[in-house]
Amino acid sequence: MQITTLVLMVLLPTLLGFLIILLGREGLSKKATCLIGVITTGITLIGSLILFGKSFILSEVLPKWNFTWIELNQKPIQFGFELQPLNVLMLIIVSTVSFLVHLYSYGYMKGDERFSVFYSYLALFTFSMLGLVISPNLLQIYIFWELVGVCSFLLVGFWYFKTEAKRAAKKAFIVTRIGDIGFFIAISLVFKEIGSFELKDLQIAIEQGSISSGMITLIAILLFVGAIGKSGQFPLHTWLPDAMEGPTPVSALIHAATMVAAGVFLVANTFWLFEAAPIALDVVAYVGGFTAIFAATIGIAQTDIKRILAYSTVSQLGYMMLALGSVGYIAGVFHLMTHAFFKALLFLAAGAVMIIFHHEQDIRKMGGLWKKNRVLTGLFLVGCLAITGIPPFSGFFSKDEILLAVYQDGRIGLLIVAIIAAFFTAFYMFRLFFTVFTGNTKQKGELGKVPRAMTFPMIVLALLSIVAGLVEVPTNSLSSWLMKGLAKPITTHESSIFIPVIAVLVSLLGMGLAYLIYGSKRISAKRITGTIPWLHQLLVRKYYIDELYRYLVIIPLKGIGWLLQIFDRVIIGGLVRLGGGIMQILGRMGTALQNGQAQTYALISVFGFVILIVSLLAGRILK
């Protein structure tokens, strides 16, 4: 099959699905709607798998393809697709998770009256995300980047009648847009420098050294600002936990597996740019490392099941950035993939937990689920073990790669940070696990049932979470495949035995501590928080970042607004009144002239006549 046909097979179904569901929402039953969604994403998944087979197994180099979108300065600006290994890998991740989430949502959203609207948004999102990951140029990435952003906004605000959802949606859009502006400026600067948006052209320009290194650094950092916004990195992370107001399938698809990883994808996709700008790499590494530990500590003190997972996502994305910043291209991308699977699993499982507890999200009100639902407990445990990095689950391998990359890059401080963050990760995940699944049920009355449509996707994701590590370890096939997409090879990391051992030990320590406090309750959580109340409060309030923004940005903006409002009313409005007043005075003077006195008229006529003659004469003479 032609590659173009295959790409159309990947892209078109979801777009069509979006249109069909949107236009036919009155007539379609819920089952039909879901069927359309599942079939379209199914076709997309098959298409991606074929592409993956061609690229990964048959080692074909897939061609790119372009068409002209608009002309600037007599030069065509093109759209099209590119299928480097990284693009194909992203296709697989997006279509797999999207397919499973489409299936899962049938169970989760069954009771919602805007079921079809939900599916149409999901389809639009999937289309945009697929378009994003195969973009050959920065402009196209930016366009789809914004489109996935708006889908995220729509889905976060899906329950529009809830005030929190409204606020969260707005926040998600505006905070990510702050990052997007960095991206926007970066693109504009690239165009200013090389007159093109194509990644290829930029790469060549950098290799030839036709862009100054200062400019390269600036562009790289601005691109990274975009990635910070999208991937919830500090200091623009605040929207992501709030985005949990959206339905849980959305959190799994958009806010865990795919869209929030777009920032990581962007950095990986322009990795040669960052390699040419060591300062930018530093920024990526430090922001990533800081975010990893920062979000992990907040995760410890949260009580909302989805928010814990959200902070965990922020923290894991930080790990990926840390890897990329430490020239661990493979490690970052590898972790992106494994994280997509196990975090989607965790969110979907959390959704199932919420269904069982009748949409309760506070983990303090849950407990004892182990006795009620063994399957779900097992699935959730797989996710926990994978994210914690316990061998042989996939998270172990990818996290190990990251730690190795950081170690070999020589930033020992960051390595320590990453290992401590791993401890916190283990702690908050198993705090969550033990609180929800062990102990006694705290809810009275009948517990909800998990529909079968929801269980199957979780099982698939659980399997992927277990085996996904095999693509890299022990065969190194992922890294040799990804390497083909890079112009120059990146030094691979020699394995070291003591780093994985330390990491696993630290994680086990975190798990053990969580067990002592929340599992066997040997140590009282209240006592600990009681001894350091300020620290606990600091974590519960998420380091007061939201409050900080409120006082530093929103209130001053409103203040300026009110001042300008007064200025606009009094000064500008005053000018208007002045203008109107002058006109009126002129008008009165004009009427005063027409007072009916013939002498006055005659006098004016004479004056006018004199002026006329003088001016005519003057004109003649001057000529």
Binding site: T68, W69, I70, E71, L72, N73, Q74, Y142, I143, F144, E146, L147, V150, G157, Y160, F161, K162, T163, A165, K166, A169, K170, F173, I174, R177, I178, I181, F184, I185, S188, L189, F191, K192, L557, K558, I560, G561, W562, L564, Q565, D568, I572, G573, L575, V576, G579, G580, M583
Partner: protein
């Protein structure tokens, strides 16, 4: 065909008058007939302008389909000629005018008083607007420009909301002052070039401008022109008349006003500013950038604190006109393209938004943000359209607002990256004020009193859907506009040199 094509600009401009003539013979109380005739009368210019778009030769420099003959003899060899034609700048604006006029007439269904006069004035307004874009002499331009003032004045003053008289007054005073400046400039230009034709004016001005010592008169003319169009666009601090007009004028008039009339300011700045005084524009770059940034940020911040929906939109117009200014200030092809795209795109988007708000008002009887909320529950379609329009306004890719803002900023980035970067703050603020207004209206819990509201009917939603379609079309496939403006802008930039 060519013989007929020559007549196209004239035919398009005057074809709405046919409707006025027919309306003259219709009795006053036959309101439905007035409405039908009003709608029908806007169709010939629409069809003809689409035809014009099709027969427009994208490879031809300067005005085409030009028709001119002597009209008035002044003295010696100086005469005023009647001359109309179309080039790459006026082409898309003419189409825009026809589309928005037709949709605005369809949207006039809430007008129930003195309908005969209303539709007559409206058609007169359309003739004026089309004439402004299709004239190829300054004299005709001025006449048509004045026709739009008179027609719009009455339309605002008679059919507006509560403080309509005051709004109409302010409209007239400000635009009158603008016209006075334009008149001075026009006469000055005529005296120094002895011609009214744009093309000849341009040629002769080049001679003047190449002189080592340029007469002060030229600067005076230029400043007068600039002020005239600055008031129209409007540029800070001349914006307050426009706010009132947007709040008080009836919905269809606001659609036309913010959709087209304001764009005459942008058109004027490009046609006369960049087209005839490229060197002066270049010397003014800093002022243009400063004014553009002020417009963008001042408008955006004020839009953010408004308590009433129409005022939010009005201030957002101020902000968006700033983007046009920035595009023009870049004085390169990309920036100018952005400015022109922004004129077209914002024309469509603001027409859509004001229409939506108009139909909202018909139901809720209020546009105070504090009184609104949760309307998506009772009016999912209208709310959905409002959301789409809002997303277009804040520059979402795939919709026309993105391509125009992107190009305008990209143009400025080529020459003044730092100031362009400052301007992008406006894009963040745009997201903030648009979402604030849209979400306050449609999201959140709904008020009890809105329980009985009905969603829009199909005939109301048709203009909205058409506008959404056009906005999406330009956003997805900008070449549809780009192809016809390409060459004209290229020529314009060549004149700037450097």
């Amino acid at each position: 065909m060519t013989a007929l094509n020559q007549w196209l600009p004239t035919l398009i401009t005057f074809s709405p008058l046919l409707g006025i003539i027919i309306l003259l013979f219709i009795p006053r109380e036959k309101e439905r007939v007035h409405r039908s005739i009003g709608i029908l009368a806007t169709l010939p210019p629409l069809v003809l302008s689409v035809w014009m778009y099709n027969s427009f030769n994208q490879k031809l420099v300067g005005f085409q389909m030009k028709q001119s003959f002597d009209w008035i003899r002044l003295f010696d060899d100086a005469k005023i000629s009647y001359s109309m034609g179309v080039d790459g700048i006026s082409m898309p604006l003419t189409l825009l005018t026809c589309v928005i006029s037709t949709l605005a007439v369809i949207a006039s269904l809430y007008i129930r008083r003195r309908t005969k006069q209303y539709y007559m004035l409206f058609l007169l307004l359309q003739t004026g607007m089309l004439g402004v874009f299709l004239s190829s002499t300054f004299f005709l331009f001025f006449i048509f420009f004045e026709i739009t003032l008179v027609a719009a004045f009455f339309l605002i003053g008679i059919w507006g909301y509560l403080e309509k008289e005051r709004a109409a007054n302010l409209f007239l005073i400000y635009n009158g002052i603008g016209s006075a400046f334009m008149l001075i400039a026009m006469i000055g230009l005529f005296l120094s070039t002895k011609t009214w034709e744009y093309h000849d004016m341009q040629e002769r001005l080049v001679m003047w401008l190449n002189l080592a010592e340029q007469p002060v008169l030229l600067w005076v003319i230029f400043i007068c022109l600039f002020i005239a169009f600055a008031i129209k666009l409007p540029i800070f601090p001349f914006h307050s008349w426009m706010l009132r007009t947007h709040v008080e004028a009836p919905t269809p008039v606001v659609m036309v006003h913010s959709g087209i009339l304001l764009k005459m300011g942008a058109y004027g700045l490009m046609r006369f500013g960049v087209g005839m005084f490229p060197d002066y524009m270049k010397e003014m770059t800093w002022i243009l950038i400063a004014l553009g940034l002020i417009n963008i940020i001042y408008g955006a911040i004020l839009a953010f604190v408004q308590k009433e929906l129409k005022r939010v939109l009005a201030y957002s117009s101020v902000s968006h006109m700033g983007i046009i200014l920035l595009g023009i200030a870049s004085l390169n092809q990309i920036g100018l393209k952005g400015a022109l795209f922004q004129a077209i795109s914002h024309g469509l988007i603001s027409a859509l938004l004001f229409y939506i708000v108009g139909s909202l008002y018909e139901r809720t009887k209020t546009t105070e943000l504090a009184m609104l909320g949760g309307l998506a529950r009772r009016m999912p379609i209208l709310s959905g359209l409002l959301l789409v329009a809002g997303l277009a306004l804040l520059g979402l890719p795939g919709l026309s607002g993105f391509i125009s803002e992107f190009l305008a900023f990209l143009g400025l980035f080529q020459v003044q990256p730092i100031f362009a970067a400052v301007g992008t703050i406006g894009l963040i603020l745009a997201a903030a004020y648009t979402l604030r207004a849209v979400l306050k209206t449609t999201f959140g819990p709904m008020r009890e009193s809105f329980q009985g509201l009905r969603d829009i009917r199909l005939n109301e939603s048709i203009p909205m859907l058409i506008l959404v379609g056009l906005i999406t079309l330009i956003g997805v496939y900008p070449k549809i506009v780009d192809d016809s403006i390409q060459l004209t802008l290229y020529q314009m930039v060549l004149r700037i040199g450097g």
